[in-house]
């Protein structure tokens, strides 16, 4: 009996929400620290919502967080102003989304990289370890010194997941390869500190690293610049960053946050939106590696073949990439 009433309730909820989306949908997006021009994570989301705007002609509200206390305020403000769907960008907005979602049960919420259980929240999660594994293999194959580096942004489990996948990928190519890891910081400021990113990178180069992978938001820009200045290779993250420095950008680990952002808005518009978890991995096309005209000279046919083989093996489940978040360790 109880399940019938819940079903009924959700059916009513669904009709209400479709009725709303039949009128002009009012989506909103709240970017996180680093800003929508970070050339990486936030910018990917920006690309996705701009694509949505272009295709549907629907306007969206946006806000860029400049300090952590603004998250909850910004999200609540968007809800108060009658936005139908509010997209929070980044794990750090999870608690704010969770809180505001309770206050506005009729508003849809989506969160990228965060996991929130609520009847009106969609959690968009990525299997970063799978993509990091692939670029880790590439790094190991491209390295002449046998040492590859990783620069993380803020030291959080999510970034450790990138690091762990990368290390496993590099070791998959050769167990002798050395992986040096650095984190930029322990506060959100670590996402927007290119100066420190560059300094960390030079430090790794001094230790013999010749390919470096950054998962650090805007801080990565400093990493790529330092790699270019030193004539070493760098790997981009989230968005395709190959174009930044053609010739020294080995590849980019694509985390298609643009697809996630676009999809959740589109679903809200079409009335197919559902709360719950959506996972984007290699299989779903939410994770990939970038090969384009800017880096094709750096990737040999042999490398490409090996990566594609590994990719199919991961999709088929023949290679299991360890997920740091599953046991909080990288054994």
């Amino acid at each position: 009996m109880k399940s019938v009433s819940t079903l009924l309730a959700s059916a009513i909820l669904l009709t209400v929400s479709t009725a709303v989306s039949a009128a002009d949908l009012k989506p909103a997006v709240v970017f996180d620290m680093g800003g929508k021009f970070d050339k990486s994570f936030n910018q990917g989301v920006n690309d996705g919502v701009m694509k949505f705007n272009k295709e549907t002609g629907l306007k969206y509200r946006e806000f860029e967080i400049t300090n952590p206390t603004q998250r909850e305020q910004a999200i609540r403000k968007m809800a108060q102003r009658g936005s139908d769907i509010i997209l929070g960008v980044g794990f750090a907005q999870s608690s704010a989304i969770e809180k505001v979602a309770k206050e506005f049960p009729n508003t849809k919420f989506a969160i990228i990289d965060g996991y929130v259980v609520a009847p009106n929240v969609q959690s968009l999660l990525f299997k970063e370890h799978e993509g990091s594994f692939l670029v880790g293999m590439l790094a190991a194959m491209a390295s002449k010194s046998g040492k590859v580096g990783f620069i993380g942004g803020m030291d959080i489990p999510l970034i450790r997941r990138f690091a762990c996948g990368y290390e496993k990928g590099a070791k998959h190519v050769s167990s002798k390869i050395g992986v040096i890891q650095n984190m930029t910081g322990t506060t959100p400021a670590a996402w927007s500190d290119p100066g420190r990113g560059a300094e960390l990178t030079r430090g790794q180069f001094d230790q013999g690293v010749d390919v470096v992978y950054a998962a650090a938001g805007y801080t990565g820009v400093g990493v790529y610049q330092a790699a270019k200045d030193a004539g070493k290779l760098a790997i981009g993250v989230d968005s395709n960053q190959n174009y930044l420095h053609p010739g020294t950008m080995l590849t980019s680990m694509l985390k298609r946050v643009d697809v996630a952002a676009y999809t959740t808005f589109m679903e809200a518009k079409n009335g197919t939106w559902k709360a719950g978890i959506k996972v984007f991995g290699l299989k779903e096309g939410g994770i990939d590696w970038a090969l384009d005209e800017h880096n094709q000279d750096l990737i040999s046919g042999d490398m490409k073949a090996k990566i594609e083989a590994a990719k199919s093996a991961i999709i088929a489940g023949e290679i299991k990439v360890h997920d740091y978040m599953s046991d909080k360790s990288c054994k």
Binding site: G35, K36, F37, E64, T66, D155, I180, Q181, N182, M183, G185, T186, A189, S192, D193, P194, G195, A198, E199, L200, R202, G203, D206, Q207, Y218, V221, G222, Q225, D229
Partner: protein, 324 residues
Amino acid sequence: MEDAFVFAVLTANATVRVATPLILCAMAGLFSERSGIIDIGLEGKMLGAAFIAASVAAVTGSVWLALAAGVALAVCLALLHGFACITHNGNHVVSGVAINILVSGLTVVLGIAWFQRGGQTPGVGPEARFMPLELPLASALADVPLLGTLYSGFLSGHNLLVYTAFFAVFATWWVIYRTRFGLRLRAVGENPHAVDTAGISVAWLRYRAVMICGLLTGIAGTYLAIAQNAGFVRDMSAGQGYIALAAMIFGKWRPVPALGACLMFGLLDAVAIRLQGVVVPGLGEVPVQLIQALPYILTVVLLAGFIGKAVAPKAIGVPYVKEA
């Protein structure tokens, strides 16, 4: 042995790169404060200069125009500070903080208006940056053991502004202790009445001091924008102006000890970067958090135990009002 030596040279290089803006700012603060003007606005002047230098470099592609623009803006901000504190006897700390806040907001607003990139400036290529200079014979001597490594690895290969920073320390020392201007500058910070009695304009002396301060912070900001990095980012000075101020107080308002303090901060930072993720025998892997707290912990320890009392110039922060 050779490895340890190379490691030391590389760490020294990183130290110098990180310490350069601190050194320039500390010398800037020293001129201002020795003349009796508290300068908490080093941060703002440096940030403003960084923004203008990056903008000019991006638009014109000329490092020299960028440097000139950076210095000009920092001098203007310094004159603004001087106008508030010297001419109108305003509170030095309030004026300095106001400049910091103003610049932190204004750079982003102008950046958005000019470049539409969320407050960043476009990245600049190597032709519009201060690139590392190779000193004569550096590559030829690189293979000579020790001395060659020291010369080509450490002394050579920095950019012009790094050398300028070290020269600035020497110049500051010389101006403060060996010139008539320096003597008067020190006097005006201790006892402006005596200086006035001797028939020297207190205001003009102090204005000259803050202008020199602007010049040096302008160079520091330019270094941040187009030597260390390749463009401007919101709040890129990241508190280095305050650290420089602390270093200057560490050095008891004297150029060479202040240089030492800046280098110490730089060294701690460089070592912190290199210690991350390294397994220390007996301790295991040191946590990132501890490594990053290290410079601050050491600062507290040093301040508490080893530096001794730092005595500021007597007339610092006190407006000079001529007795009627």
